[in-house]
Symmetry: C2
Subunit: 222 residues, 2 copies
């Protein structure tokens, strides 16, 4: 990268970080837990959110900001589950930034919320560099992607507080060791909470949902 390019990138990141800090302060003052979901394309972020919304919407006040390079498909899928959803189409952009999230939040009644999900663009690299004001990043990884992904894309795993392994129903058809995948992820970030889930069979979802309920309760009670 040229020196000029590095300098512009630094400016962009620090403007982003200032706005993210404002978003975080605002959400915290209102007791809203905000999770920034990061993964490769097709890892199952939207499907996990559909299941999560169905199970939690009677217990928590939920909303979603759904980012995509193109189309509003994910946002439309999620809206059908009866919670407020704001779509962000990046039009080629490879990650969400704090400015986009800040604008979307003005469309949501933040004082009426307990838990806000931000579904980032499907990309295991760029989104991990951009603070969106979230309480925590959550990285998803499908078992079909292979055990080595935490080693090859370490930033997303290092900056996340939780890892959700998805599609574990497919393990019998793969050469994949969940133990090794988790070992690799914890070698990058020993503090990671780990959930092994299948949105198809429902396996492992109870632990994920309990954890969300507890984290939202902790956030609400400051």
């Amino acid at each position: 990268m040229t020196a000029e390019r590095v300098e512009v990138k630094q400016k962009v990141l620090s403007a982003n970080d200032r706005l993210a800090a404002e978003i975080r302060a605002d959400l915290t003052s209102r007791g809203v837990l905000c999770l920034n979901l990061i993964s490769s394309p097709g890892s199952g972020k939207t499907t996990l959110l559909e299941k999560t919304i169905d199970e939690l919407k009677s217990k928590l006040r939920l909303a979603v900001v759904a980012g995509d390079v193109q189309t509003r498909n994910d946002a439309e899928r999620l809206e059908r589950h009866g919670v407020p959803v704001e779509a962000i189409e990046t039009g080629g952009g490879c990650h969400l930034n704090a400015e986009q999230v800040s604008k979307s939040l003005s469309g949501l009644g933040l004082s009426e919320l307990d838990l806000l999900f931000v579904e980032n663009v499907g990309n295991l690299v760029c989104p991990s560099s951009f603070d969106l004001g979230e309480s925590m990043k959550v990285v998803l990884m499908s078992v079909t992607e292979g055990e080595d992904k935490p080693l090859k894309y370490p930033a997303a795993f290092r900056r996340a507080g939780a890892l959700v392994l998805t599609k574990i129903d497919l393990i019998p058809h793969l050469q994949f060791s969940a133990e090794r995948a988790v070992e690799n992820a914890r070698s990058i970030n020993p503090e990671l909470e780990v959930f092994a889930t299948s949105s198809f069979t429902g396996e492992g979802l109870a632990e994920w949902l309990d954890w969300l309920l507890e984290a939202a309760e902790r956030k609400r009670s400051g």
Copy 2:
């Protein structure tokens, strides 16, 4: 994006494009077919290359430039198959650029080659914007990623000459229609060559290998 940022991005892209044009002219003058492989993380680029190398190395002179954010794992896997491999670790960078490829090529005996693969960083967004001097981009998409990916990440599909659907052995365990996926891809790019493959069972590889042999032959005979 700020005006300043757009301007720097334009400069970077046009410097990249000039170098890519030089690489392309050089490879073309030597009759080397160069394919730039683009996909999400874990779509099976490296495994497809392993199978391809095993089948074609007695018929074509092959080499690989293997890009990764971190680790040289892919390059080491590919080297075991007995062809020259140059690794590029981007150290956080979300795509390969022409400068990295140009440096790697100086380590390979280009006059001795028929077919050069460039395995890009696993990312369905950013790599599609950077010309590396390839003869053609090839986009891979695993059936586990879902039928909608061409619509959500159109640039990679628009700029590719061929689509390789991977892991088709998993289709019986998924809610996935290959027809709809291909229809979506061709709605973005009607000219796409499409191969439906499983590196695990070997299904569909013969068509892919035949196509590579013919394309390399066409390139060699100018």
